[in-house]
Symmetry: C2
Subunit: 552 residues, 2 copies
Amino acid sequence: MRKFAAEKSKSLLAHRKRLAVSLQHPTASVFSSQSHHNPLPQSSILLRFLSSAAANPSAPSESMASDSDYSSTPVKIDSINPKVLECEYAVRGEIVNLAQKLQEDLKVNPDSHPFDEIIYCNIGNPQSLGQQPITFFREVLALCDHPAILDKGETQGIFSADSIERAFQILDQIPGRATGAYSHSQGIKGLRDTICSGIEARDGFPADPNDIFLTDGASPAVHMMMQLLIRSENDGILCPIPQYPLYSASIALHGGSLVPYYLDEATGWGLEVSDVKKQLETARSKGIDVRALVVINPGNPTGQVLAESNQQQIVDFCKNEGLVLLADEVYQENIYVPDKQFHSFKKVARSMGYGETDISLVSFQSVSKGYYGECGKRGGYMEVTGFAPEIREQMYKLASVNLCSNISGQILASLVMCPPKVGDESYESYTAERDAILSSLARRAKTLEDALNSLEGVTCNRAEGAMYLFPRISLPNKAIEAAKSVKTAPDAFYARRLLNATGVVVVPGSGFGQVPGTWHFRCTILPQEDRIPAIVSRLTDFHKAFMDEYRD
Amino acid sequence: MRKFAAEKSKSLLAHRKRLAVSLQHPTASVFSSQSHHNPLPQSSILLRFLSSAAANPSAPSESMASDSDYSSTPVKIDSINPKVLECEYAVRGEIVNLAQKLQEDLKVNPDSHPFDEIIYCNIGNPQSLGQQPITFFREVLALCDHPAILDKGETQGIFSADSIERAFQILDQIPGRATGAYSHSQGIKGLRDTICSGIEARDGFPADPNDIFLTDGASPAVHMMMQLLIRSENDGILCPIPQYPLYSASIALHGGSLVPYYLDEATGWGLEVSDVKKQLETARSKGIDVRALVVINPGNPTGQVLAESNQQQIVDFCKNEGLVLLADEVYQENIYVPDKQFHSFKKVARSMGYGETDISLVSFQSVSKGYYGECGKRGGYMEVTGFAPEIREQMYKLASVNLCSNISGQILASLVMCPPKVGDESYESYTAERDAILSSLARRAKTLEDALNSLEGVTCNRAEGAMYLFPRISLPNKAIEAAKSVKTAPDAFYARRLLNATGVVVVPGSGFGQVPGTWHFRCTILPQEDRIPAIVSRLTDFHKAFMDEYRD
């Protein structure tokens, strides 16, 4: 029955009518992993370019016998919201489900596979791979969770003086010191003040606490903006290709059209504004009302860091074309090369003389990334500038429907934007922890990049920032044919083979979008440093064997 | 400009085409607070019955001069998603914005109003009104936030032995003990196991961890189900009237139709299945595909607790009519009367012999409610039964797009479903804290109920459960005329006057829906007990003066 259902949802997807928008990039019919076998015309839909998770049953419920008869229950696969079917999210897709299955196998029988553990390089989740949290941040969180111990003598023995002081400060900022109360819909005002002081220190331009919306990670903030901007499939959002699939998923769920622009792999995933303009014009000529431009800087999955001059062009482009600039800046603290530096788009825009009423700009930040990598805390914020009061009121209403984001995440967002300062008791240990993580990540990025570049048919741009490498693999025709014969995208085929042989989980490039006919995978740089040599060696051995097997 | 924008959004709302579905309840044209002045025909739309927050500018940004010129920015009020405009959320609407303004006034000048503080009775937010968190829960959360102190001697001096033990258990359930990592999209498996043991202890029927989706409070779970079920405005969701506005807001945001059924105030907000059936048939005759029935038990805003026999009828009704039963059970631990008891719908369905493949049932639970009232932690879950594997896969995908809910909230959800047991060091202090809160809430409910019933023209059903009273106020015609003259719903007019006179914030009944021509407000029972007499006295004085002023 499962197989039947999968076929049915696949056919539903295939038959769903879509808006046809052709693309003018020289190599540019963006298509799905399936369309490799069943090519769509160049005028195919923008959204259909990810590997079809919907068509691949995933996350089975262990308890449900696959032969259970659900025919008398009311919800059928062809009676759910088709936007849900349409939505795809490869970083937790089929490959991760296979990995979880293998992990279960290993639990039962440690010799069941040619490796002793699964290494999840599919997602930027540092602490899952052994990274330790920053002590100061956790001390403050614990004290805010249980303020009753703040006054106890023992507390001074096990917490730093400045974490105790900071916890008192934070409690004073919370009405009634109630860390268990819903906050203001945008987040606790005092914490937004602290975040703004951090933004001001970073940018050298003023920030306003009324512009901050604290959210459970960056994802809900992205959804909120898509929800606000997208009215129908005639509304388009310009997104980089490759892109982080949150964007394609969110656009699909809100029923809009993803308008792709290509990052140029040959120039280190460069963003060429003239190409973006071409894509914009093509979309407009097809009747698409393009509302916004998404820029991910540092890049995900691509790891590049934009030059300030390039950012200025992007700002001018959005200004001139009447686009909202949605700036995904969650990797702002993950920079690994001395010749690059992070500049927020707000700083760039303000430096160019554009003020509040000149450009509509949203900056997304998260506590999941950075050197702290506190993914599980689900903290984040968006800074919203250049929207008229009546639009802001609608944003406030949307935030209110979910009441508020979690308070621990709010507190943590304030901490990462305002960490210990010179003179604070924790300052030295804090900077030591931070610098150790960042310098280790830089070394890991370089080691993995070099290893990948040494493989036959693999080229890999450097990770200037973020947490990923996105190597391109030139697969032999025989491998492509083999993938075809099992109805899988060639890079998904490669990733699956890699997982089965090594236990290393990566995400096929088709999950992010890529120039048709090219194949990639995304691999995080996050395994602990002492594990990297073994990973490199496993990867190298696998790749060699794979190429030997399929060499034309 | 603000005023202009408000008028514009109001006119946009008024002109937006909607599906017309007439109702057959004897008193049943559900309409909005505005339609009181400008009555809609009986065939009016289901969604248009809340006081129009969208039309009332709220949450102004302090920093934005109201005369700033945003004309060159791209997003206009008539170019945003009309579903966002449509959505309303009264519990954080206009009246709360006024309250926040008054609070600012008091900060600047404590004598600026005839009261010295704002008492927020608009929302079930116990800790904001001074309720203390349950010690055991907070101890465990603090230890999980900062596990580095678990082994230290001082920790035993300031934490209970069972909180330390529980923290160790929880850490052992988290892969790599990484409380800072993204978890499985449905939440940490071990915590879902614990939650299931709590559900089993409650219901006496098995629960499956694969059926649990941990979420940031109950709201995202409700949104997920609406997103899954609603394809277009032709899809309807049966909701009680009065209802908690999360439902109307979520249905509006997902573009569906709210199909109302009325709770009968005369029988203590009774739910009459024959009436629900009538509404269902009417909606179907208008071409609405009704997908689900929402039941809130204990009731919000109405406070009634359903009898088991009534629940059985509801289960049979959903089974026979092919409806998903969406059971909002977040107040399951808030029962204040000895003659009523909470039964989960799953227990009721299983007791009737209905198994996994017989009925589609979703139960929503939250850590925000109960006696613990941990609203700010944003923990919750839904238990999903009776959906075919291919539908569950789509739910898993939706959960994956946001990666996971916050880990502290996940941990807390496991704690509230599995609190200390007899023999645990914390057991006595825990039960003392719990029982003190619950018995105090029961006394407060009774005191406020009696006080309200003693007022001229006010009748108030008892709060059997939940956190609210929802008194009906018979307003004099002169008051209704006065409200009309300032273009406000009469109950909103009353609530505004109450706030201005007493500092007490309540939500007008028009924010929840009510039988046309009746007026109510929702008031929480949450102010601390020693404050209740003063609140009763202020309320009584205000009401008397109001009635004297407007008596016909």
